[in-house]
Amino acid sequence: MNMKDFNLDNEPKIGTGFKTPEGYFDAFQQKMMENLPVEEPKVISLFERNRKWVLSAAAVLIVVLTIPTFYNSASNEDEIDVASMENYLAYQSNISQYDLINLLDNEDIQSLDVDFALEDQTIEDILTTNTNLENYLYEN
């Protein structure tokens, strides 16, 4: 073969030169089938097998044991904290603002006045920037 103008396409096909041992593929197939990884039947301990049930039982037990403590500690509190009360009034109850107003006496209203002492300027700002003014006017 003249290597000086070697051109792969013009040459007769060059093989790899690789051989395999006699009967290799038959033997390989057999070896492969014999050694396929088996989904082993795992040895499962009693705990593993019933893991779900054991864990569920434990969870239930914990809950059951906690109830009396929880119940006691809950019933000991006579006072409802302010935040819960506010949330209840705001979102849960169907008490209207009129009901609330009826429950307030003069003293309450005065303290509200103090709490909400607003500067004239602030009120003016709110009034000029608030576009839903009509709603407030009607309600009053």
């Binding site: 060059i14 093989g15 396929l36």
Partner: protein, 180 residues
């Protein structure tokens, strides 16, 4: 091979699994062996990698989504297994993968399962000089005579990119072969 979906179903059904896998082996062991042998060069290594490949195929069939053909999926596994094998063996010998492969080519002369002549040996020497991707493309195109579309599905490279790789590979190989 008949409808691939049915065949995969047969491979996954415990009742038909063994018969179906035996047919898969019969159909693919030779072409996959050739593919692997072209990468790892040595018969014993190819035997190891082929076995690893079929074990991986067997274990991962249940995850095979059917997005690509079974054929290209298996070739992809074989390619990855071969490259992983070379890199691991090179590392164990404290060599770079390139140096390790050079050594493998030099060992061919004394290999009982290589009966190539001077030209065939020189061609192997020329190939091992190429970057990994060009080596793969050249071997799959020239030795295994695969279509660009098939190689593209296996290697995940565009047909255009593969043609460029093959063109460069051929040029470098021809230059190498012209040298004494």
């Amino acid at each position: 091979m008949e409808d691939e979906k049915d065949f995969i179903k047969a491979l996954l059904d415990p009742k038909t699994q063994n018969v179906a896998f035996e047919r898969l082996l019969a159909a693919f062991q030779k072409p996959l062996y050739a593919h692997i042998r072209n990468i790892v060069l040595n018969h014993d290594d190819a035997d190891d990698v082929l076995q690893n490949t079929f074990v991986k195929v067997y274990q991962n069939l249940k995850n095979f989504k059917g997005e690509s053909k079974l054929f290209s999926w298996m070739y992809r596994i074989a390619t990855n297994e071969s490259i992983t094998f070379i890199n691991a063996k090179a590392k164990r010998n404290g060599q770079t993968s390139e140096a390790f492969q050079q050594k493998q080519v030099e060992n061919l002369r004394a290999d009982d399962y290589f009966d190539g002549d001077a030209v065939q040996l020189k061609l192997q020497k020329a190939i091992v000089e190429l970057p990994e991707k060009q080596q793969l493309v050249f071997k799959m195109k020239y030795f295994q005579e695969m279509k660009y579309e098939e190689i593209s599905e296996i290697l995940g490279t565009s047909v255009g990119g593969l043609k460029a790789s093959y063109f460069h590979a051929v040029k470098k190989i021809e230059d190498f072969m012209k040298k004494d």
